[in-house]
Structures are given as C-alpha cells and as structure tokens.
C-alpha cells in the first residue's frame, strides 16, 4: 500500500518536473519561464522526497525528507524573487504581448527602493529619500 502511494507520488513528481522543463523552453520571456520552472520543479522535488519518506518508512529518513521539503519550499520563492528583481533591474524585456507592467518607473535605481502605487499611498507617508 505504501509502495503504491509512493509510486503515484514518484510519477506525479516526475510529471511536474517534466512540466517545468517544457515550461522553461516554451515560455516567451524570462518572467513567465521563471514562474513555470520554479513552482513546478519545487513541487515535483517535494513529491519525490515525500515518496522517499513513504518508501523507507523510518523516522530518521522521514524527518530528513520533510526537512528537505520544508527547506525547498522556503528557499525556492526567495531565490526566484531575488532573480526576478535582479533581472528587472537589468532591464530584461518582458513579453511584447504582456498586458501590464505594474513596476514600470517605480524602482529607484540609485537606492533600490520600490515606490508604492498611487492607490496604496497614505496621506502622511514619508516621501522616498533620494
């Protein structure tokens, strides 16, 4: 029973990782590629590690597998965010058919501060220091 569940998780994880691979080759620009690759691959690795925990059915292995899953789920969004931010500063072009770029003109390139959009600004908010 455990093995059947583990086999299903293994196949699910492999399909998700294949989806990440297809996404990173087929998507039109960097940011869509990132959203395909980062989320699908971390869920795929998580499913595979869960299958490892189920298959060996030992406390030590299970704890280490859950630790690895927690680590991946904590760090994948951080590294993706930092990379996307760096790429935006670098001026990587977004897809020409993108509808909206909310960050346009809002990043201060000198001190790396992000200005709030007009609808989210408080009356008494301190202006960004130059």
């Amino acid at each position: 029973m455990n093995d059947l569940l583990a086999a299903l998780l293994v196949l699910l994880g492999a399909l998700l990782m294949l989806l990440a691979g297809i996404g990173i080759t087929r998507m039109p620009d960097l940011f869509t590629r990132m959203q395909a690759a980062t989320k699908a691959s971390s869920l795929g690795a998580g499913a595979t590690l869960l299958a490892v925990a189920l298959h060996f059915a030992e406390v030590g292995i299970g704890v280490r597998a859950l630790l690895a899953i927690a680590f991946i789920f904590l760090t994948a969004p951080i590294s993706a965010h930092m990379l996307a931010r760096a790429a935006y500063f670098m001026g990587v072009a977004i897809w020409e058919r993108s509808v909206i770029d909310d960050l346009e003109g809002r990043y201060d390139r000198r001190n790396h501060r992000l200005e709030s959009p007009p609808w989210a600004r408080h009356e008494d908010e301190e202006r960004p220091r130059g």
Binding site: A7, V10, A20, G21, A37, I78, L83
Partner: protein, 112 residues
C-alpha cells in the same frame, strides 16, 4: 508490491527517471540558448532542483536511504548559488547603468 507480475515502485521509478531526464535536457537547452544571463541562471536553478529530484528517485530505485542527505546538501548549495548570482546581477548591472549615466552627463557637460 506487484500488480500483474510487475514490481510497482521500481517500474514507476524507472519511468520517472526517464521523464526527469527529458526535463533535464530541456533545461540544458535553455542554458545554452540564453538569451540573457538571468535566463541561464534560472536554467541552472532548475537543473539543481531537478538533480534533487533525481537523487531522491535514485535513492528509491537503488534502496539507498543515505542519499537523502546528498539531496539536502545539493538543495542548500543550489539556493546559495542562485542568491549569489542574483546579488551579482543586481549590483553589477545597476552599478554599470549608473556609471554609463554619469559618463553621458560628463560628456554633455564637456561639449554643450
């Protein structure tokens, strides 16, 4: 456990390894094609996360429970690499852009 004479988990593991190999090849394709540096870094990050999955699969197929430690270490190194790359891209390109702006301003001041 077997279904119709087939060992379920080793078979699923073999199929999964084939699928992940295809994904690895596609990520390598993006690594070669680029076109920008962040694209390549994203491909490298995907490769490191696919390697974590491959190591987990190998530990299941080969009945080697210790390999899970390797997967944890590889996830750590991959994260550090991605963060370091992101920092260098951000600082480097911003510094270069500001230097280019300052240079253009100096040129304008020199011959009005």
């Amino acid at each position: 456990m077997t279904i119709a004479g087939v060992e379920v988990l080793p078979t699923a593991g073999a199929i999964a390894l084939a699928l992940v190999s295809v994904a690895l090849f596609l990520a390598a394709l993006r690594l070669f094609r680029g076109p920008t540096l962040p694209d390549r870094v994203v491909a490298l990050e995907l490769i490191s996360s696919l390697m974590v999955g491959i190591i987990a699969l190998v530990s299941i197929v080969g009945e080697q429970a210790v390999l899970i430690d390797v997967a944890i270490a590889l996830a750590l190194v991959g994260f550090l690499g991605a963060v370091a790359f992101a920092r260098y891209i951000e600082k480097g390109t911003t510094a270069r852009g500001l230097a280019a702006e300052a240079q253009a301003e100096a040129d304008r001041a020199e011959d009005p």
